[in-house]
Each structure stands twice: as C-alpha cells, then as structure tokens.
Symmetry: D2
Subunit: 448 residues, 4 copies
C-alpha cells in the first residue's frame, strides 16, 4: 500500500478494508504480459519525445524485458500487497533500477493501459479458442471416420423422427463450431488497440513518437500480434468495453453449442438410449452407489452454461448507463472475461480428447432403426411420388400408423388388402423396400 | 383450429386452452413476407421436380404473390384462429384456389420454413438497424457542426477530469456506433439461409431443383436480398439459432451504447450540470408538479437496457442444452428477437431526430471550464517538460491542490513565492497560460 | 394526445413518434381495476379534507364505480390514443361528468398511483398463482392415487440409480411446489401498499383523511384485499420496485421447477424411456412426419424458462443504479411482470389438467426394474449389515459389477463359488431376495 | 487422486486434465464446517444403529472435532489434491485414526451431504447479511442525527422536484434495507435442512437414530443453529436448490438498493451537485491527474450489480430443465453463491463505516433550495386550498413558470399585477411565505 501511483492530494491513508475491496491484483495479474507491452511502447515513445534519455530508456527497457521473460516462462507470481498489475510491475522495475522507475508512468494513465491490456487479452484468448475449436472439429471428424457406414436415429422433440447417417449427425456440430470460428476470426481481424489516450483527453506525447515505437516493437511481442493503431478518439478508447461484451457473447454461443452436444451425449449414454459408451477416464462414480458411471464431464459442460451466460449478463449490467468516460465500475470487466474464457477453453480442450474415445453401440442403434415410425415420412413421400397430394398422403399414413399401433401389428406385416384400405397405392412390396435406413438416407436428394 | 397441417394419427382434438398456449400466430405473422418467399421457392422447385404441373405451379404462385403483395403493402391482417403463420398462409391459398393448396406443403417441413423465415427476418432487421445507425452518426455530426468551437468538461468517475472539445466528446459516441455498424455489416454479409432441410433429414426434392428455383427468384424479393445457399447440413439447419443470439447480442451492445449517451444526456440536462437544453417535444411533464420538464426519452432509452438484455438471456436460456434437432422450445426465439429489434430501431429513429435539436448551454460550460482542477494534469505535464520526473510532478501538484483547497485560494492567485514552495519550476506566468481550454486541448499531441 | 395530465409549461406539442414510444396504455390498462381503487380512496379523502363537496364526491364515485364495473365484467377496452391508464380513466370520467373530472387528480401524482397499482397487481397475481399451485399439487396427488403401488426408476446423472416408489417420485415435485406456495404466502402477507406519497414528498391531504377513506372502502374491493397502510416514507414508496423483483424471482423459481418436471416428462415420453403416455389433446403432430406425437406442452413449458428468467434480468437491469426517486425507466417494470405472471399462470393451469391424464406404462417400468444395477447399493448395504466396512463393501460390489458386465452374466446367475471371490458374505440366496423393488424400497428406514 | 470415494467398478484412472476440471476443493472448502456437522450427526446415528461401536464412534467424533476446531479457528487449509471437501475431510480423518475412517461414509451419499452443507452455508450467510444490514441501517441513522434540521433537494427524473428533509431522504434507504431484512428473516426462519436422503432414495439408517443424534448435537454447533428436520422427500432433497436461488435473488435486491444509493452518492459528490463530501479514506486518486478524488467505493458498489445479477442468472440457468434427481451440473451452485455473498457482505460492511463519515455540504444545498421551481407544487396546492380545481391550478402555475423563465425574472419578484394575470388568487405575500423549505415540508400532512 505504500507505493500507490497516486496520492499527493490525499491527507488520509486509504482504509485497509476498502483497500482490499478495491484492489485488483488478485485477478488482473493475468494481464502482466500485455501491460509490459504497453510499457515497452510507452518508454520508447518517451525516448523519441526526448523525455527519457537513451540511457534511461535502455535501463527501463532492460528491466521490463526481464519481467516480461519471467511472465512468459511462467515464473511471475503477483505481489498480493500491490493495488493492481500496473503498480506491481512499477514496483518490480523500482526494485531493479531504483528511482528511475518513477518515470515509467510519465504522461500515462492507467485508463489507457488497461484498455490496451484487456483488448490484447481478448485478442490472445480468441486466438486460443480458435485453435481449440479447430482441434475439436478435427476430433469430430476422427469419430466420424471410426464409423463411416453407421446410421443414427434422428430426433425432433426428442421423439424418433427419421434416420440419418452418423456422420451427418456429427457434422451438424462441426458446422456449428465452424460458424463459431468464423465469428472469432472476424473478431480478431477487426480488433484494434491504440496507445496515447491519456486519462481521457489524449497526451502530450506526439503520435509520431508512438508510431515510431510501434514500428520498432510490433511483431516482436508474440506469435500472433494484435493490430495496434493510432488513437481515433481518446474518450471512446478509455470508456468502451464493447469488445469484451462481443467476445463474451461469442463464448456464450460456443457454450450453448457445447451444452447441446453435452445433452445429446448424456442422453445417448443413458441406459435407455444406450447409443454411446463414454471413455471411462472422463467419467466418475458414486460414493454410495457402487455401480455408477456418470457422464460428469458432459454434465459440467452443460451446467457451465450458467456461469458463461451469467458472465455476459455481468459485463452488460456493469456497463449499463455508465457516463463517459472511465468509471471504476469498469474494473469489473475482468473477472467475467477471465472466467468465461477459461471455462470454454478447458471444455474445448477436454472435449477434443474425449470425443474420439466415444464408442458407438451400433447394435443398439440398429435395433432402434427397426422402429417403423422412422420411415413414416418416406412412406408419405413414396405416395407423393405416385402423384398423391401431400396432405392426403400425410393423413393416410397417419391413420395407418394409428391402426398399426391400436392393433399392435407392424405395418410391414399388414396384408395388401388391409394396406389399400388406407390408400390404394400402398403395397407391401414397396413398404419393405422403403423401411430401411439405406433407402431412407439415399432418398434425401436435397443434401450435398 | 380445423385446418391444422398435421393430425392424421390423432384421435382426440387438441385441448382449446393448450391450443391458445402453443399457437404463435399472434407474433409470427411478422414473418409472413419471408414465409411466402420460402413457399415461392418451394413451389417452383416442386415444379422442376415434376411434382407440380406447370399449371398447378402457376396457380399456386399467383395466389402466393397476391398474398405477398398484401403483406408488402401493409394490408395483411393475421387470422388469429390459425395456429401459425404457415397455416394462416396455407388457408389463404386454400381460399383462393381450393384443394390445390393441399400441395403447398408437399415434402416440406415447418422446421425448414421457420429457420428460413427467422434468418431472413434477422437479415432485414439488421439492414434496417444499419441504416438507422448511419442516420444517427450523421445526426451527431450535425450537432457537432452547430458548435464547432465549443469545449466540454471531460469526466472520469463523474469527477471533472480534463477539458475536451465538444466535437471530440460527440465523436466518442460516433466511434461506438461505427463499430456497431461494422459488427452488423459483417453479420449481414456472413448470413446464409438454405432451403431443403425437410424436418431434419433433408428432402426428396433434388438440390438442383432448388438451385434452379433460387436462380429464377432471388433478387426479385426485396431491395436487399439475403444470400440463400445449398443446405450444408440439414440437422444443423433446423436445430440452430446461433444467428438469433448473435443478432440479439449486437443489439444489446447498441443498447448499452445508447444507455450511456442517455445517462450523459440526463446528467447534462439536470439543473446541476445544466449543459444541455433538450428539445421540448421529446420531454414530458408531471401531473402534480407544474414546473417539470423531464428527459423521458433518455430515461426510457436507458431503462430499455432491461428488456434488451433480458431478451438476450431469454434466447440463450431457451436454447441451453436442447438436444438435436428441432424442439418446440425454439418457437420462443421470436418474441425476444422482435422485441429487441423494435426497441432498438425506435430508439435510434427518435434519437436521430432528437440529437440535432439539443442546445448546448455554452455559458454554463464556460463557467465550469474556469475550474482550475481541470488543468492540474496539464500543469504536471508542464513540469515534466521542464525535466521533472512525472511521479514528482504528480505529487507536487497534488500538494499544491490540497493547499489551494484548504486555503480556498485559486492557484493562479498564488504568488510565485508560494508556488515555488511546491516546486521551483512553478511560476505564475506559466500557470495562467496553461489554465485555459485552448492550451489544454492544443497540448494533446497524441490525437489525430 | 389532447388530454394530457400535464403541459402548462410546454410551448411545443409532443413529437408524435416519441408519444408512441413513451405511452404505456397498450399494457398498463391491465392495472385499470387497481387504478380505480386508488381514485376511489383518493376522492373520499379529498372529501374528508373538504376539498371536494359531498355532491362532487358522490358524482366522482358514481362515475368511477361505473367504470370499475366495466373492468370487472370484462367490458373495458383501453383507449389506445390515451397516454396511460390514469389518463384513460380520467377521460372516461370526463365523458361521464364533464369538468368535475378535472378535480380527480387534485393533489395527487401518478408516481403514487402507479406504485399502488403495481403493488396491487402483484398481490392479486400472487394470490392467483397460489391458487393455481394448490390445484397443481392436488393434480399430482390424483396421478399418484392412480398408481398407488407402482415403482419408478430413480435417476442421478440421468443414470439408473435406485428404485423408488412412483408416489415418492411425484411427491418430490409436490414438495417443491409447496415451498413455492410458502414463499408466495409470505409474500402476500408482508406486502403493504400505501397512498399519499404525492410525487415524492407527500401531499397536503391529512393522513387521517386517508385513514378514514380506507376504513370505509377496504374489504369492498375484491375477495382478497391487499393490506393498505399509512405512508412510511414517501420517497421510498414512489422509488422502489423491490416487490416486483421479489415476485419475478419467485415466478422464476416456479418456472425452474416446472422446467424440471417438463424435462422428466419429455424424457419419460420418449420411445427410449417409454414410461409415460401423454394425453393426446396436449400434444401436436408434424406437418411432414405423419407418425409424430410430440410433447409440445412440456417443450414450451421448458422453453419458457427463457422469457421468465429474462424478465427477471429485465427488471433488475432497469432498476440498477437509478437515483432517487421516480425515474421514467420504471415504467418498464410492467411488461416483464405481466409476461412472467401470464406464462406461469397458464403453465400451471394446463399442467393441472394434463398431469392426471398421464398414463404410466407400468410394463416398461417393470422391465427396467429388472436391471440389477438398481440394487447395487442395497447389496452394499447388506454387506454393511454383516459388519463390513462400507468402503470395502463399495469396492467389492464395484468389482462384482465389473465382472458381471465383462462376462455378460447377471449377478443373480452367478454361483456362490464365484460370488464369494468378491466377498465371503455374498450368497446367491440373499442376492435374490435383495434384488427386488419391494425389498429395496422397504429397506429405506430413514424416510417418513 | 488416490483416495477417491468411488472407483471399484472403474478400470482406468481418471484423466488428469478432467480431474482438474471437475474437482471442487478450490471453492467448496468453504463448506468444511457444515460438512463436519453432517459427519458428526451421521457418526452418532451409525452408532445408534449399531453399525459403529461406541469406541469407533468416539474415535471418529474426536478426529472430526479436532478438524472442526481447526476450521473454526481459521487454521484449516484445503488440500488442493483432494477432489472435494468430503474427500479432503475423510483423508484428514484417515491420517488421524487410520482405516476406521473407511467407515465414515457408511450408508451415506455426497448428494445428501452437499445439500445439507450448502443449506447451512446459506443459513449462516443470511444471518451474517442480516447483522450487516442492521449496522447499515444504524449508520444511516447516525448520519441523519448529524444533520437533524437539514433539508435536501428531492429529485424525480433527476430533475429538481420538491424539497424534503435530509432525514426523510436517508430514511428512504433505511426502509429499503428494512424490507431486505424482513425477507432474509423469513428466509432463515423457513429454511430446514435434513439428513438421511442417501443418494436419492433414502438410507437404511432408521430415522429415529438420526433424530437421537440431532437431539444430542444441535445447539452445540454454532451460535445460530439452522433447523434440521426429518427428510420429507429424499429425491426432492438431493435435487433441489431453490433455496440458493432464493438467497441469490434477495442478495440481488440488496445489491440493487446499494447500487441506487451509490448512484446518488456519486452524483452528490460530483462538483456539479456538490452536496456530499466523501471521507477521503474511501476514495482513490488518479495516476495521471493529480487533482482527482474519485468515489471509487460507490462506483465499485454500483458496478458489482453486474456479478451479483450475473450470479443469479448463473444458478437459474444451471438448474434449468435438470431431470431428477442430482446431476453433476449442480456442483456449479457454489461459486455464484459464494461470490454474491462475499460481494454484498463486504459492501455492507464498508458502507456501514463510510456512511457516518459523509459530510453534508449544507451551504450548497441551501443555495439549491433557493430554486423557485422546487415550490411550484406547493404553489398549486395553495391555489387548490383557495378552491381552484387542481387541473386549472396546475396549468396556471405552468404558464407562470414559463413566463418567469422567458423573462428571466424570479416569481417572487413579480408584482401582484402580473401575478393575477395567471390567477387572481396569486399574491406576492403568499408566494414569499410558500417559497421556503420549512413551509414546503410542513405542508405534507400525509406523512407520519
């Protein structure tokens, strides 16, 4: 608490309980890397502006680079008595090079830094999620390749509807995740950070100095570098967090998609559906019931919809009706951001390894495919191909089904005599041909 | 209730209270135009597939086009006894051309239709919001041009921070809305509808027939036409509503930005700030207090953050953990979509006309600009330009301010003797120069 | 627009588009009854205060009572050109008795009225939901009585866990709904409205006059009368909507409970579980697939979690950080309130009629009860009763199950020789006794 | 990972990444105290059931009590390699007394434990919040007593409305917090935990043994003891988390109320309102702008509406549509619960110490009270007391105000000649009397 970045006008010391309440180092240390990037650019710009001498600049850069290395190699442990990551790093620089560290924050505001840091965090996280999604899509394809000729029961309303191929079923999820990729890809491409907003009104450092600093540095930071451009509007820059909301809404959509596959997987690995055997290493048992093998991963991945949706509500609510420009409320953008990113990143990583380990219980699926109801639509389509108006065909087959269920006789066991009572085009020979998964799937000419 | 699109297998009539509960015509009639587009394409494809004769096709198209015209000219009134918009239109076709209407739903599922309809609604709505935002950005620019040389008090933490130009202040909002445009622009460009998914498994109509139908029709529908492509995955197509969530999250971001300008406008038109005079025709009074002129538009535009955020939660919650493919829950995607769109569209429309009518009370602003605190940062910057380390400058000025406040003397009224006690570079002559809005704004060299 | 309750200080007419945007008559007409209650009390108090003569008072009361009757008999149609329900009613009084209607709003603010109206709406709605829940609990009991001796598969993690009685299964939901009743009961009992807050600062009418008016009127309004007490704090009264949030959160909990029973019902009426046959009149079919009988009610009742949760978010968001006292944002408390109430009321009403019509497919349940896994816990408990440490028993049974599954032999078909390899207390005779639903249920001595 | 409470049936070891993903010890260690309560009751019940000997029982109780003491004295550090708090405690018992610890989980399920633990956490937390709110209400009263005769500007729509007393203003918040107390008080009184649900189906331990155990133990646990009763329905007990949602919704309402006072405090400590001087020790400064003293506490307390609302959405979403009974998703009830509790507890604690330190800038308020608009309503009321119909009075004063503003003359400076043009009852002498805060406040006879 001794080395705050402010305080000249204050007579009283900060209240200790309030200090704990307001400090952010417990979570914002995750921004260390990007915070140092900002400092590196800033120090060079100060040097170009002739506010720092070459030697001062070099000593500051050296100290910062040492800390950066610590961060990048995982050795950085936040100092919990610091107020925030900016103060923490300043104090580390101070330890290394003494009083010169007082020049690190020259003509700079934490408002500018934090907007830069959070934007870069969003960028890096989005790139990581993109990579994870690519693996996940690949893992769906691996599972699909294990069962190239398998069929699957297709459901609407959780009622058996029509037969589909297993690969089409899996591909539905791949398509969803591909759109998630597309959204994220547009996002990382359109994201632009800036430097030089000051607290809100800009700074006395010339934009050319920043431009020169960026030219020297960018590309050296990390594999994927965020676009850093000139400040378009300094007030907007320190006041806006739309890019956090946007990222959190994309993560919420990914989470929604994951929750749906999770639901399917939970259903399909129940004793009643019994289509999936989940890899044991991703399940747990019960402390009371010795027989249980529970689909815990999928339950958690479904349940995490709660926090991931909640985090989106959190940032939207916090930002509601904040007057320009920076308000301290905005400090609270970070926890929902970090939380949703970590949840979705971990889910994707585990899912990518779990999915290829799913065993399809083909016998059980094939038994389900004997259910004649699955071919009712194809039967109606057959009547249409004989020239029957669809509405009439639909009604005839509906009545046939009712008859079959009431009498508890399979449709394909009905005689032609009975069948023609429902429609004169209905004949046993055709029905037997139609009532097969191969026929059903082949008849779908609208598909690619 | 007599003309349902389903029912052959059912023995009992639908329960009337349940029928009311589940029917959607009260709101999905807003999709009429797009639903007819789907039917037009479908009918032509049925004709290409030789399921409909040329004459049948012509009669169906004619009937559909008549209804379309009614919709487009505003004459369409939904029939509240219908179940949904698909049934309503089918019944209208039936009235026009009789039993042939039974062929309208041949080999087609409402699951395919509704995905198509909702997607097109999102597309058209997004285009409308984009146009609205352009007007809004223009209206900010009109207001800015009314006061080209005005300054504004810049706030952080709702405390006076630094001086900015009025045009920079307004431009902060323009930048936010421009990013909103960018998001929507990417959205409308990447949105693609398809036709031919059937209920979930595809249909017996050949994709080439659909392709031919699309070729004949697209471009004829409306000014801006959504991209309609081949079905990539039929299960995904009927099961997914990510595009609704995405649109609702963009609307939530726009709403967030509007709520912030609204908050500013409410503050600035309070007696205490007194910077804005709002055009009277957008305010209301009190039934009890004769003097009131309330900023109602801005209060409502701030308050509507509630429903617009709530609608986003609504669709995300509804879609959570739904198994593939279509589930009836998904019917509930429409009300939040329609609600958020209408709110944001109306806010933007009114705001675009209101903003240019705002009167800036320059006298009051100029009085506020006399507050020396607004130039404290510039004074510190001046010390830095004299070679003082920023941290020392910050502390010196902090103490000077404390002194000035305790003694209730303006800084520029202090003698050089007193000033140099705080720092030997502080001289009255410089302070007087620095303590002016022109100087403050001019010194911000980091800005464009 | 001509008969606004305000306007003397205004030079310009209200903008027509803004008038549409801000008017509330489209939904607040639902408050007509309670708004008239407020007027009746107010008019009598004005008379007691000698501001209205006896004759004026009588004429106003008569006019108001006529309108009240119209509302209570369902004949009231809101006048869509009015601004809000207060103006609408004032205009109706004006039509009946002319200029005297100008005294109706004497010393009264809409801020006071609307707080009163909304509170009474919450009260009446909560009473209605309470009555609905009683019927629902009764309907669960009717279903339970249809199957007094039936068992049910008990699930955890959607995996078969242990056998329970069907009545215990249903009773789980009854207990949830009973707690919902308890919450609502506390709510209606602690709710208190008041009259006399004015716009925010109180009014010139003496509290004794209001007390006399209330004494004359209360109890005459409706079957269940809300407690109306003296104003404790006028600013709080016009500024607070905590009672709306509280009601909406209780409705959200009810909705959550309904969504869970809905999920169960959807699962149990799937072909795979096949435990429930749902009454046909509460299901619908498919426009494409002739065989479908979909559990639409339960899907919608699950999906409505979206709007009901969203409405709670809506009101919380709208009320966030509003300064004292009344702000126009608060007008937006009504739509989420009305929406959640109507959804939950209708769900409960339909559910109460649907539940007794559910048919339990006992044969299918009994077939599932043959699954030995359902008795694994009881087997472990048996070992404990023989003095085995539970952890050892749990592990022994776990290994036995693995063996049984690997070898595809039922446990009860294993010889004593094999059984004792897993534990020396395991004998066939006991196992056969234990592996029965009756034994399993009877052994649960911790239950009432 | 070696000492899991399950695993006999499993061949493969749990995946390490999945183990990290699913373990809960990082947060559920906060339940240690209540988890030990459950164990204490359970061990005694096992002894009463003659499953544990007296000596076994004593050794287990002793070990558990030692750990309990560690927890209660703050010495307990969770073992991060454990899966959850139940496993962690079992392992500690094991370390103390060896293999006997294997009997700790005899006939017990973590499903039963966790429901018990979370319920007790809610109870204790609610009691703590209740105590905090009492202090907060007291602190408002302390502030009120500092300024017994002060007035305050009352606002609606953030426009000056009418004069109120400062004590009435503060009392508005006290009333809100009193209702929060009432809600919490009902909550802690109606909350009831139980023991003996097993995994879902009950357990073999007789309910009488549990009753005896409870009799021996309850009251010894902590100052305030939760009511623990017999299991009413075991499935409901392990499946329900309505009590968490209820608590989180009450915390959300408290948060909403705090956000409103925060907004007021931020406004009133702005330079423009300038009514409040906040105690410096609860404010912070700027790293760039030396003059800043920001109302950070209030900004954070406003911003925390985000996470507190988000946490409510989180639990509601997670619980949506979960089938009976326990599902792993429900593990995610804890983080939102802990988070909202800690935020609200800390806000209340700091606020209770901050509020009495607020300095009212009475000079500034008195200057604002000179604004004639604040007495417009009283002037209209005066006309009413002269027998003028309110609507006419309202309009006359409205026009008078318009005149006064257009001419830039104070109303009380107008001659009787001018005044009577607006209404013949308007006379200067009366106006001067009416235009005073004392008169305005005294005239509010509807208040207590």
């Amino acid at each position: 608490m001794t080395n705050k970045l402010w305080g000249g006008r204050f007579k009283k010391k900060i209240d200790p309980q309030f200090f704990q309440f307001q400090k952010s180092i417990d979570y914002d240390y995750l921004l260390a890397e990007y915070d140092i990037y900002h400092s590196l650019i800033h120090v060079i710009a100060l040097n170009k502006s002739e506010i720092l001498t070459d030697s001062e600049c070099d000593r500051l850069l050296k100290a910062l680079c040492e800390i950066l290395k610590e961060v990048q190699t995982g050795g950085f442990k936040p100092n919990n008595s610091a107020e925030d990551i900016h103060s923490d790093i300043q104090q580390r620089v101070d330890k290394k090079i003494g009083k010169l560290s007082d020049k690190l924050h020259t003509l700079r505001s934490r408002n500018d830094q934090i907007a830069f840091d959070v934007k870069w965090f969003c960028f890096s996280s989005a790139v990581m999620v993109l990579e994870g999604l690519s693996s996940l899509i690949e893992s769906f394809s691996v599972l699909s390749d294990k069962y190239p000729k398998s069929f699957m029961v297709g459901y609407t309303h959780l009622q058996r509807a029509q037969v589909v191929t297993f690969s089409n079923y899996l591909c539905a999820y791949s398509e969803m995740f591909k759109r998630d990729c597309l959204r994220l890809d547009n996002y990382v491409k359109s994201l632009t950070a800036s430097i030089g907003s000051g607290a809100l009104a800009g700074s006395a450092i010339d934009k050319k100095c920043y431009a020169q600093a960026l030219k020297e540095l960018l590309g050296k930071f990390s594999k994927d570098s965020l676009n850093v451009g000139p400040v378009l509007n300094s007030m907007d820059n320190v006041a806006s967090r739309d890019f956090v909301v946007q990222f959190l809404s994309y993560l919420a959509i990914i989470q929604m998609n994951i929750s749906r596959f999770s639901e399917d997987a939970i259903l399909y690995s129940s004793k009643e559906f019994n289509f999936f055997d989940l890899p044991e290493e991703f399940c747990t048992g019960s402390s009371l019931m010795p027989h249980k093998k529970n689909p815990d991963f999928f339950e958690l991945a479904r349940g995490y919809s709660g926090p991931v949706y909640g985090n989106l509500v959190s940032i939207l609510t916090t930002m509601k009706a904040l007057p320009l420009t920076y308000n301290r409320d905005m400090q609270l953008d970070k926890q929902p951001l970090f939380s949703s990113f970590e949840i979705v990143r971990d889910e994707i990583a585990i899912l990518s390894r779990l999915v290829p380990g799913i065993t399809l219980k083909e016998d059980n699926i094939n038994r389900a495919l004997l259910d004649e109801m699955l071919y009712a639509t194809e039967l109606a389509e057959y009547l249409v191909s004989c020239g029957v108006a669809f509405k009439d065909a639909h009604e005839a087959i509906g009545k046939l089904i009712r008859y079959s269920q009431d009498k508890k006789i399979q449709i394909k066991d009905l005689s032609d005599e009975v069948l023609t009572k429902f429609h004169n085009k209905l004949v046993k020979k055709e029905i037997i041909k139609i009532f097969s998964p191969e026929w059903a799937v082949r008849s779908k000419k609208s598909l690619p």
